[in-house]
């Protein structure tokens, strides 16, 4: 039982760490920002997740304490990672002004066009 726990914890740690590494590696390898953006926002999420689950299992099994507050970290990461990516993408759109973008039906993307009804002048 203990061995199984150890095995589980160890594999979770290894999996998490591997994904963390892959994410960072992708960020190094991929050629342009938009591609690079895929690497960390995905891989590292699982990377941290793996480590967190490992931690939960570890403290449950080895200490006998129910440690589930690690879930909170995941909750926050899940809440924030899309925002981060969204902003990075918008910042990239704003600085690069790519002309190959598909355009939506009536209005442009909000990075380039103000929301209708917004009373911002100029």
């Amino acid at each position: 039982m203990e061995f199984l726990n150890e095995l589980l914890v160890s594999s979770l740690i290894v999996i998490g760490a591997t994904f963390a590494l892959i994410g960072s590696y992708g960020m190094l390898k991929l050629p342009d920002l938009m591609s690079r953006l895929h690497a960390p926002t995905k891989a590292t999420t699982l990377g941290v997740g793996g480590a967190l689950v490992a931690s939960m299992v570890y403290f449950l099994a080895l200490n006998g304490t129910v440690s589930i507050h690690e879930l909170l970290i995941s909750l926050f990461l899940f809440l924030t990672a899309p925002i981060t990516a969204h902003f990075l993408a918008k910042a990239w759109l704003h600085t690069q002004q790519p002309n190959t973008l598909p355009r939506p039906a009536r209005h442009d993307w909000s990075t380039f066009e103000k929301a209708p009804g917004s009373d911002e002048a100029g």
Binding site: V9, A17, V48, A51, Y58, S67, H69, L77
Partner: protein, 89 residues
């Protein structure tokens, strides 16, 4: 066994951090640098959790929690700065 796993994790995450550091230097754009730092924060969270496992202590949990909660705030702030200049309008 866990010790080896942890050692592996340290190596992997550290390598990842070095990659991030490289991206921080190389850029080329500021957005790339922000991305590098954002990823770094995630890796650091992972590192702290693994360190907590190694030390068998939950005393480091809050550090990871705060990084998770607020790591993104600076990233968003940097991006907002690039987008609008004024981050609180």
């Amino acid at each position: 066994m866990i010790d080896y796993a942890i050692l592996y994790a340290y190596g992997a995450i550290s390598l990842g951090l070095l990659f991030n550091l490289w991206r921080l230097f190389a850029g080329p754009s500021t957005v790339d640098r922000i991305l590098a730092v954002d990823t770094m924060v995630i890796n650091v969270i992972a590192l702290i959790i693994v360190y907590g496992i190694q030390m068998g202590s939950t005393v480091y949990f809050e550090a990871a929690l705060l990084l998770a909660m607020f790591g993104f705030v600076s990233t968003v702030a940097y991006c907002k700065f690039i987008l609008r200049g004024n981050i609180i309008e």
